[in-house]
Amino acid sequence: MAPREAIRDTGREAEIHRGRVLTASVIVLLALSVLFYRYYGLQIDNYQQFLTQSERNRVRLEALPPTRGLIFDRNGQLLASNEPSQLLAVVVERADDLSILLDRIESLIGLDAEERARFQERRRRSRPYDAVPLKLRLSDEETAVIGVHRHTLPGATIEAQLTRAYPHGDLLSHVLGYVGRINQQETLRIAEDRYRGTFHIGKVGLEKYYEDVLLGRVGNQNIEANAHGRVLRVLDQEAPFPGKDLKLHLDLELQRVAAAALGEQRGAVVALDPRNGGVLALVSKPGFDGNLFVNGISAKAYSELRDSPDTPLLNRAIQGQYPPGSTVKPMLALAGLELGLITPETTVKDPGWYQIPGDSRRYRDWILRIRGTGHAPEVDMRMAIAESCDVYYYDLARNLGIDRLSEGLAPYGFGQVTGIDITSEQRGILPSRAWKREKLDQPWYPGETLSVGIGQGYMLATPLQLAQAAMVVANRGFAYSPTLVSRVDGEARVSPRREQVVASPAHWSAVIAAMMDVVHNPAGTASAIGKDLAYTIAGKTGTSQVIGIAQDAVYDEENINARHRNHGWFMAFAPVDSPRIAIAVLAENGGGSSAAYPVARAVMDAWLTRDQDG
């Protein structure tokens, strides 16, 4: 070693070292104090804050959506069910790169702009680590494809859910309506916590009307999840309350018969039980498949439905408004009898047309075109109903005047909603002086009264309203609000009895006898369905014009545009002595009532000749 080392002062070296160790010890103590101070700050001063944070990390409140109530027909046939299905959801926080993930999913199973937009909307409302639904109701193939590529799709999860299903497709579309995904306006309207975990809401039909009942009550559970969003255990749970089941008056078989009888004919059939107002069948053709709407109908399919000239989305039974035509005649006859303007024996001369004294205009009878003359030289009330004589009712209408005419029809429910338990019902029009003043700001002209006298002119009615009118006649004056649902979760839903029309029994009998002639008398306008009947029918045909026919012009069925052809009506009830069914059939552009009454016969046959129930 170097000689210099020999002169080292080892004592001084040790002294310097001791000094430095002392300094270092102080620094170490200070530094350890800093650590203590820091841990003290985290663990004591901010303990509550961090404890809350760690609990929030660990525990998630999850909604347990209730199962939607089921809908059954009167015999317990399932009409609306909940089917298990798979949905693809994304835990955004677990995705490496959300846009790459979405692109990848798109390349695997397809994803349209709408689904992306809905996802972003739902994401906005979700909480961290929620699984945000991206694509609802995956097909088995899509589920398999996602499953296979799962490892390349961090953040994506497949979850099971129950989806609304309508096993009978378009047969019941206008009765049940459908549920669809909750949209933005609905988000604002609904109580958000009732819909936590629920993505669907009733949009139309029973699904909408009974939304509150069908929905049920949401349950909650606190779950412990790890950082990857995996649920480890359920900490506590409050079970959801399932929605209530609905039982309908409707008979699935009768509905099938009615739909089949109508066939391809656009139109509607409404059959009511006159003893309680229950809707036995309600058909509107064409229909649509409600299943299409449940998880978002494609824009293309929707525009096809919306823009179709056949308007399949229109529920003709309750929203279609048509001139009732001659079907109003028995009701006007009853009004005339009650007011003493006519007796069953009163006759009117029928040359085939009618003129108001002092007016040159001729009001034509429909028979004129066929026979070139009237029904008979003298027509009485019975014949006027059975053969649907217009001239008789032009005269009666003129004698009644618009005020009494309007008052006579009002108790049957024209111009008002029936109160049926589906939404968007239309009220039709019962014209009156006040109505015309209010709507058109015009005075009432006497000639217009004559049009209303044969159910034309301003008058409009829905098939449901006519079925209700048939019920009133069947019950000789009283009725029940038409109702689809008979039981909500087993509890009876009773429709109140309403006194509608007050008239003497003799007058009722006279009018009903005349309505029986419509079917049972060979001269009756619906005598074609009068053969081989096992029961009695009282009914009334109707034909209503779609376009006005110029005076003296001839209605030429062959050469007229199909959509300008006349509507055919038939309203009836049976059996006459103890009515068990009241029905209205509309054949839109059917040409005449002959397109309607066979349908009614088929439905009544099905209902009255079966063993049970009828």
């Binding site: 070693m1 070292h17 160790v21 170490v28 820091r38 944070q53 609990e55 990390n57």
Partner: protein, 380 residues
Amino acid sequence: MAEYDRYLTEDSRGDFKHRNSVLNALHLDGWLLALLVALVTYGFFVLFSASDGSQAALIRQARNFAIATVAMLVASQIRLDTYYRWAPLFYVAALLLLVAVPLFGVGAKGAQRWLSLGVIRFQPSELMKLAMPLMVASWFSRQGIPPRPRSLLGALMIIALPAGLIVIQPDLGTSLLVAASGLFVVFMAGVSWWYIAGAATLFLMSAWPAWLFVLKDYQKQRILTLLDPESDKLGAGWNIIQSKTAIGSGGWSGKGWLSGTQSHLDFLPESQTDFIIAVLAEELGLRGVVLLLIIYALIIWRGFAISVRAQTGFGRLLASSITLTFFVYVFVNMGMVAGILPVVGVPLPLVSAGGTSIVTLMLGFGVLMAVSAEKRVIRQ
């Protein structure tokens, strides 16, 4: 080595007692050994929980400690003058390995830090953590204490060379720690306070240019994240937010051993390695942290005590700088997990899972033991 013996201090001669002949025979310091056993035992309990009761993790850790204990025993048997003589060679070898890293090394996460020797992969920078204090201590022992400017300059070059090589791997954190282990020797050697003050001033003045020109983006990111972890909740800030949450939610008495939700539900990253203190803090609370701090403080105290009683300047420098380095690991790890220091890859000494750091640390304690055994060796 006759010259070496001459530097023994007079007062240290009477210190020796036949108190514990077995420990003496093995060249072991009883106090230090007891404290290490306490620390390692404590650490095993924490690791058991951090690994979700994984037997494999415990066995792996036990194996690491077995190797490390053997390494420590071997290191403690070696005479101090042997270290003194071999220090330069050891240093040069470690330096060459560092040079080899960019040439033959294997990379991970954008940095080349590893050398692969068939089945074993190791970081030469870990070797340097031990070689550095040995070299600088032997340098000053040769050059004289307190250091004169010329030997100081030499020491700074000895320090700067490997630190520079590690920086370019790049591994700034390790580089700073390696440099620190050398600078501690400089400090312990009694470098003038004026120099220290001057260096501190220079360091502060260079901070701004370093930020602009030297630091890489990910390094800046770590510092920025430290200042405001909320700015990047799910990215770089995630670790810090979760570790602070784990620590804070432990409170005074903790959630109970094996009951930490942050760690067991995977919210806490690296819970077996660098962030294991958060598991301890969450489950055992502040009192568990204080107990750990006390054990560490006692180990540091014992290390200093050994250094003060060392017979030679070399031993004093070596023991005190190894002790200080140990302390720095504790401080940096506990500080970074608690969010007061940037996140660098420093494990919690002798608690975190991981072989290399345990072996290096135990080797260091072996050297400490050798220092404490020095006087007895001389007697015998």
